[in-house]
Symmetry: C2
Subunit: 404 residues, 2 copies
């Protein structure tokens, strides 16, 4: 007997038939004698419908009310999933975030989990029930409903796995694991049986879209081992954990492409201490996530600062920087025709030559590098967006990721 | 400045445009300097959609999960209504039943309100906010979401009016008041400016469909004066209170018809003490609401027991009685081709001749009486369903209800 936390995403519970399928999956695992805590998302599309309805009423709805509204999506699926289990003879109890004791801070629409009071869940587990928990949502100390932001349901599952000391945590999604590259772009991309938190983190943040960074960070912090797999088949997925068996041998684990970034160039700014600080303080105050940052050495007293931001936030960034530019001088250029390509692998730490292999391969395909940025386990380059897919294939081949 | 509780039904908040209309109404009253607590229902149709989805998963869904599911309907409208107010510059905060401190008993799908902890609402009122509360729902002591059953949103409004000591309680619905008869059937039916709780109770329970009995009972118990009016115009509605001005002069206040009942005849049962008790114990155990009950004097040692139940519960009643009939003998006949017509008025208490006026008028229209039952302030008769509308017109005229 094991205690298992599972999470099913919006497409897995997208309609009545799929909810029944999920119930059958749960029953099969339950019948093997396991204890189950199951986190479900809202039906796919529901959250967007609710957002559209809200926007038709208020261009910029108050965030507390937005959370009050959006949390109903999961509340629907937990009730329906519990009913589907009862219908096939499995005792089940649904829990909203509040009922599950998921306490968060007060930051509406992107709250952080502070503590989980798992006593009610433990009591129902002891009573032999399957627990169905609404993902993505919690409650703050004042009793207001909060939501956890994008990827929040994964976070709920991983946090619950830590809180109830689960033996396993399974994240069911519409992809069946983490690949060496996007299989739609690189046809000989392979599924990875295992990956480390650090590698997964870099892949997640770099646009592999399997999972949000914060869930992986949370799992890493509390050492929650989890498996990413598909709810539409029984294939083994990818297990994410601290250290993976063949870590030493493999230099690069995967190639990720992010087409949702834009490049911002702030040029002709005064080359003196504190200039960059002012720029990034203004962006931070406006809550804009800045990714790659490169500053050229100044010449003739002026410098150029280049960075990338999510495409959706370029106008917000421009607006936030206007008063700063008035103060420090300089001008802004925006470019959203870019993509970021990254190669990731913990093996890089002890291997040299990864950068040169990547740059040589890209140069061979006549792909120009606009920005370069490196960390211990990844190298990222910004290239033209229309060359991104080709670059992924070239890099994948250069690191022999198509070979077992 | 007054403190006003308003309730808007499902058709009043049926879509985005109507929610905006409701917000404008609220703003107008707010701008006059009033404090407002507003109860809203789910958008019309939403509750039925959710029930259909549940039934597609489980023929008889667990009631706790049903409440968990259905409560999202109002949670959507409270958030959207609060957003609509914020959009026109009115500070507003939405409250689920749980957040509003509406504590109920544990009976899922038809919970009773036990207490309301209005402190959070009082605090937000003091801060100048308009309060938007989800109707129909509460929470029990164990943290499970409960719903109050049919007409639950009216009950929420009236209970809140008592809890916050409101000066006024306005129930907005799709009819603009209580009429002397159904205006669709009786063309010269008049709207009543005032009506007493007792009269309203009889009219509600007899099928006038304006409000459920329990809300009126609650209002009567806590002496909450409320007005039933339409959210689609500014006509004055009907004020419901303890004593109405011209009570002494008017004998009959209105005529109500209920076509949703069925007649159950249990014949040839042993005419001895305890027989009827067994029948109604079995029905009560099955949670079936019995309305009119008539027992004929027994002859030859056998008796006939006749009663009415909601049409939807006839099969349930038959099933519940099967074991009893095995014990006490007798057979059952069901008839759903009936209607119940009632005339109601507190003036009846001190006036004789109401029954004879009614029976004479119906006889004059060749309408046969199958059952008769009376209370202090009403007389009800069961007649053939296809004669019901004609009977309503005849009775309305006989008591001069068309005259001011």
């Amino acid at each position: 007997m094991a205690r298992i936390v599972q999470k099913y995403g919006g497409t897995s519970v997208g309609d009545v038939e799929r909810i029944k399928n999920v119930a059958n999956r749960i029953k099969a695992i339950r019948d093997e004698g396991n204890e189950l805590v199951v986190v479900v998302s809202a039906r796919s599309g529901v959250t967007n419908e609710l957002i559209a309805r809200a926007k038709a009423i208020h261009p910029n709805p108050p965030e507390r009310e937005m959370d009050q509204l959006l949390s109903i999506g999961e509340q629907e699926t937990i009730a329906l999933t519990a009913m589907a289990l009862e219908a096939i003879g499995v005792g089940a109890v649904s829990y909203t975030g509040a009922q599950a004791g998921i306490f968060t801070d007060k930051v509406h629409t992107k709250a952080k989990i502070k503590t989980i009071d798992a006593r009610p869940i433990e009591a129902d587990l002891s009573a032999g029930k399957v627990i169905i928990v609404a993902g993505f949502q919690g409650i703050n100390e004042e009793g207001h409903i909060t939501t956890l932001g994008r990827g929040g349901s994964d976070l709920t599952a991983i946090a619950l796995a830590a809180a109830v000391k689960a033996d396993k945590c399974e994240i069911y999604t519409d992809v069946d694991g983490v690949y060496t590259a996007d299989p739609r772009v690189v046809k000989d991309a392979r599924k990875l049986p295992e990956i480390s938190y650090d590698e997964m983190l870099e892949l997640a943040s770099l646009g592999s879209k399997v999972m949000q960074t914060r869930s992986v960070e949370f799992a890493s912090k509390y050492n929650v081992i989890f498996e990413v797999r598909s709810s539409f088949n029984n294939n083994p997925g990818t297990i994410v954990k601290q250290e993976v068996a063949y870590m030493e041998k493999v230099v690069v684990r995967g190639v990720a492409v992010d087409k949702d970034q834009a490049k911002v160039v702030v040029s002709n700014i005064a080359d003196r201490p504190g200039t960059a600080a002012k720029v990034f303080r203004a962006l931070a105050d406006a809550n804009i996530n800045v990714d790659m940052i490169v500053q050229n050495a100044g010449q003739g007293g002026v410098a150029t600062l280049t960075f990338t931001v999510p495409q959706t936030e370029t106008l917000k960034a421009e607006k936030a920087l206007a008063p700063v530019l008035k103060e420090i001088g300089g001008s802004i250029t925006l470019d959203d025709k870019i993509a970021k390509l990254s190669v990731v692998g913990v093996g890089m730490r002890t291997h040299s030559g990864v950068a040169s292999t990547l740059f040589t391969a890209l140069a061979g395909a006549d792909i120009n590098l606009e920005l370069i940025s490196t960390s211990e386990i990844k190298i990222s380059v910004v290239i033209a967006k229309d060359k991104a897919d080709e670059a992924a294939r070239v890099a994948h081949k250069a690191f022999h990721l198509d070979q077992l």
